[in-house]
């Protein structure tokens, strides 16, 4: 005490400014800012100079210019006379399409394989193990090449086909062809019936949960929901007088050789680039998801399932009510990053010329030389997608997280 009083009474024993953590902190941060600003100024001034010398006008004005190249798969209207902006939009939608379908397939395959790895059956668990190790340890680009060049190039040529699933789907070098549903007038009612069915299914689930909490009586929610979602649109379809038919692919097998093959516009066609990319992406990501699922399920302690069995729950409810909800907490965070990885990896499309954002952007870049703008668009789009996905998954994760005191 006395020492302190002495100190405060006399001249304060201040440490030198050099040793004051606050002053040092300010100094370091100021240095960093100055260094960053200087570096940024160096880059910007160089870039401006370089662009001037190369006569490239910076800015996004070029997006209005006519693109003049075709795109093999476009979800929105696009012709060769459309603008660069529209071309990039087409690429963006293709990226989204691949990402959504890839995530969907990868989740299904990943969960199946992950659960198979934990199977008591030795053959099944070994098979799942081999799948995971083989797929995880081979580069994704190699797998895309394999599917595109080795598998989808080895199928029959344009004038021939392989048919499967009772002759409804056909595969040849032009891609996968199948029946396309055509909705006629009055088919809107089917869509509305589907929406109504989904709303009803949710209502039933809510009601049955309330009733079970109050009275303990159970209700077959899943079967009712399934019945509603399949049944209502079916009834609507019949009532409206079946306003839908399928546009089956037409295949000309006779006549002059050049006329043989699929008639243009009959059925839907998935181009081989899309097939190869989606297959490779979902198979590759599924191997990682399988490991996440396995780790998540193993993270739930054995006592949980034993306690559930002791309470008299059977295997199904144990899994559904006890194991999976707890495993999901462990699974979701790494699953998010896998979804993000898949979205980012879809940019490998450029290697097989599937027109995704990077591929189309690359074409535009080559034609216009607007490197900074194009790369800026790429980075902006992928960063936005990443941030949106992680924001959504964080929200979901918070809902699933353990509520602690």
């Amino acid at each position: 005490m006395s020492i302190q009083e002495q100190d405060s009474a006399g001249a304060p024993a201040r440490a030198s400014l050099l040793n004051d953590p606050k002053a040092r902190g300010l100094f370091y941060q100021a240095t960093l800012i100055i260094a960053l600003v200087a570096f940024g100024w160096f880059i910007v001034s160089n870039t401006v100079e370089n662009l001037e010398r190369q006569n490239i006008a910076s800015g996004f004005g070029f997006l209005q210019n006519t693109a003049g190249f075709g795109i093999i798969q476009a979800l929105v209207d696009y012709t060769e006379t459309s603008s660069y902006g529209q071309a990039i939009l087409v690429g963006f939608f293709n990226t989204l399409l691949v990402a959504v379908i890839g995530i969907f397939l990868a989740t299904i395959i990943g969960f199946v394989v992950g659960i198979a790895r934990l199977s008591n059956n030795w053959v099944i668990s070994r098979l799942a193990y081999c799948y995971v190790e083989l797929i995880r340890n081979v580069p994704l680009l190699l797998q895309i090449f394999f599917w595109y060049f080795a598998v989808l190039r080895a199928v029959p040529g344009k004038r021939d086909k392989w048919s499967f699933l009772f002759d409804t789907f056909h595969l040849n070098i032009a891609g996968l062809r199948g029946p396309q549903p055509i909705f006629e007038e009055g088919s809107g009612i089917i869509g509305w019936a589907l929406v109504l069915a989904i709303v009803l299914a949710f209502a039933v689930a809510r009601w049955s949960r309330k009733r079970q909490e109050a009275t303990g009586q159970q209700f077959p929610v899943f079967l009712t929901g399934l019945g509603l979602i399949i049944g209502l649109p079916l009834i609507a379809y019949l009532i409206a007088g079946m306003p839908m038919h399928f546009n089956y692919p037409e295949f000309v097998e006779t006549g002059p050789m050049l006329r043989r093959g699929f008639t243009l516009g009959s059925g839907f066609n998935l181009i081989p680039e899309f097939l190869a990319l989606t297959l490779a992406l979902s198979i590759y990501t599924a191997a990682f998801i399988a490991e996440i699922v396995r780790a998540g399920i193993q993270a739930v302690s054995h006592g949980q399932s034993e306690a559930a069995h002791a309470l008299g729950l059977r295997n199904g409810p144990t899994l559904r009510l006890v194991i999976i909800p707890q495993a999901m907490r462990v699974i979701i965070p790494p699953l998010t990053s896998q979804y993000l990885n898949l979205t980012k990896n879809s940019s490998l499309a450029v290697a097989i010329a599937f027109p995704d954002l990077v591929s189309v952007g690359g074409t535009v870049l080559n034609q216009t030389g607007q490197a900074i703008e194009i790369i800026g668009i790429w980075m902006f789009v992928y960063l936005t997608l990443s941030l949106l996905t992680s924001a959504f998954m964080n929200w979901y994760n918070q809902r699933m997280a353990l509520v602690e005191r």
Binding site: E49, R53, N120, L134, P139, L142
Partner: protein, 384 residues
């Protein structure tokens, strides 16, 4: 006396009976693991069918029908004419030097071999936990080896005196480029990643913010766009007349990219260190860098060795992407060899991809096994 008739006392051990045949040995194991129920039996049969239908064609293609020797495509085509299409390994054997060294001048290939040998000689003891002199070894591998290999691979010339003729990086290719990118990427990204991880956990708001933005930016964009950026945009950033080698540009992009991932791995390790360690170090009067260098980082880095290896595996696989910006890594070299009419057969592509897959698998699987081995070794204290 009468009691003696009732009690029976056994004076010697009963003979040991073998366990019932249905619960032990191969049959018991099969009963338990393969045929415990009807559903299980069905699964087993389906599983065996799937395995058979995948493995048999593979063995047929890669071994039974394969062609091992030959000088050009006729060797592989002849067998194909007989109705079998097998792997054309003769093509891979013919192209092997290109796959390993790229178009490196033949008379200079010994330099690449020295680098490969040094790499193995320094890496193996570094990976063996029981090998001594870890500090010197790490110093040699992380500092001396890169400098030596830089001069060995690119060449050394003082004015007119040629010690080692210069080999342009455009002539590098195959496994050489793959390894150069992967190893440089990981060695250079480690210090940068540690700095970023420390920055992210710093109390200074601006340093923290800069680190977070840097990390999240690189983690949010695909590597392809980073590679495009380093090959197209980087020249724009530099003053007139200053140009970088293409390989160097790619290396810069890869390093920045993997540094962000490395930073997150290291941050995980830093967070796992109990607060008492920081407080203890501070109570001893250690300064920040002393605290980090002597107390925190040795523990944190040891914890994240598996994570670092995993990052390395990811980077190793991602090196294949450089073929998109026109460099020839292993996959790029194989891809470009397909245009050779001398070896053009219908199975050439399959063989090439299979070879690439085997090489990558051996590297990556080996590394992941090593990471599991280290994990088990390091976690002995925490396991129950």
């Amino acid at each position: 006396m009468a009691n003696a008739d009732i009690f029976q006392i056994r004076t010697e051990e009963a003979p040991k009976l073998a366990a019932p045949i249905s619960t032990s040995g191969v049959i018991g194991w099969m009963r338990q693991n393969l045929f415990s129920s009807i559903g299980n039996t069905v699964l087993t049969v389906i599983g065996i069918l799937i395995a058979y239908s995948l493995i048999m064609p593979f063995i047929q293609f890669a071994i039974i029908d394969a062609v091992w020797t030959g000088d050009d495509r006729t060797a592989c085509l002849a067998v194909e004419g007989a109705g079998h299409a097998g792997a054309c390994w003769a093509y891979v054997i013919d192209y092997l030097p290109q796959f390993i060294y790229g178009r490196y001048p033949t008379e200079e290939i010994y330099r690449v071999n020295i680098v490969y040998a040094l790499f193995v000689l320094l890496l193996v003891p570094l990976l063996m936990p029981s090998a001594p002199y870890k500090g010197i070894n790490a110093l040699l591998f992380l500092v001396v080896f890169p400098i030596i290999s830089y001069f060995l691979l690119t060449g050394l010339e003082f004015g007119d005196t040629v010690v080692l003729p210069i080999v342009e990086t455009a002539r590098w290719g195959g496994l050489l480029v793959t390894l150069v990118i992967a190893v440089t990427g990981i060695v250079a990204s480690l210090p940068l990643g540690i700095a970023l991880a420390l920055g992210r956990r710093s109390n200074m708001p601006i340093i923290k913010m800069v680190s977070v933005i840097f990390i999240e930016f690189w983690r949010g964009v695909p590597l392809i766009t980073v590679l495009f950026m380093s090959s197209v945009m980087l020249p724009l950033f530099l003053p007139e007349g200053v140009t970088f080698d293409k390989l160097l540009r790619v290396l810069i992009g890869v390093t920045l990219f993997s540094a962000a991932y490395m930073a997150e791995v290291v941050r995980g390790g830093l967070q796992a260190i109990p607060k008492g360690q920081y407080e203890g170090a501070m109570a001893l009067g250690l300064r920040f860098w002393q605290m980090m260098g002597l107390i925190i980082l040795p523990q944190a880095l040891k914890l994240v060795i598996p994570g670092i290896v995993n990052t390395f595996i990811g980077l190793f696989k991602d090196t294949t992407l450089v073929l998109i910006v026109g460099m020839f890594d292993l996959l790029g070299q194989i891809q470009s060899s397909f245009s050779d009419p001398n070896w053009s057969t219908p199975t050439q592509g399959h063989t090439g991809y299979l070879f690439a897959a085997i090489v990558f698998f051996i590297f990556c699987f080996g590394m992941s096994r090593y990471s599991i081995f280290m994990e088990n070794k390091l976690h002995t204290g925490h396991k129950r």
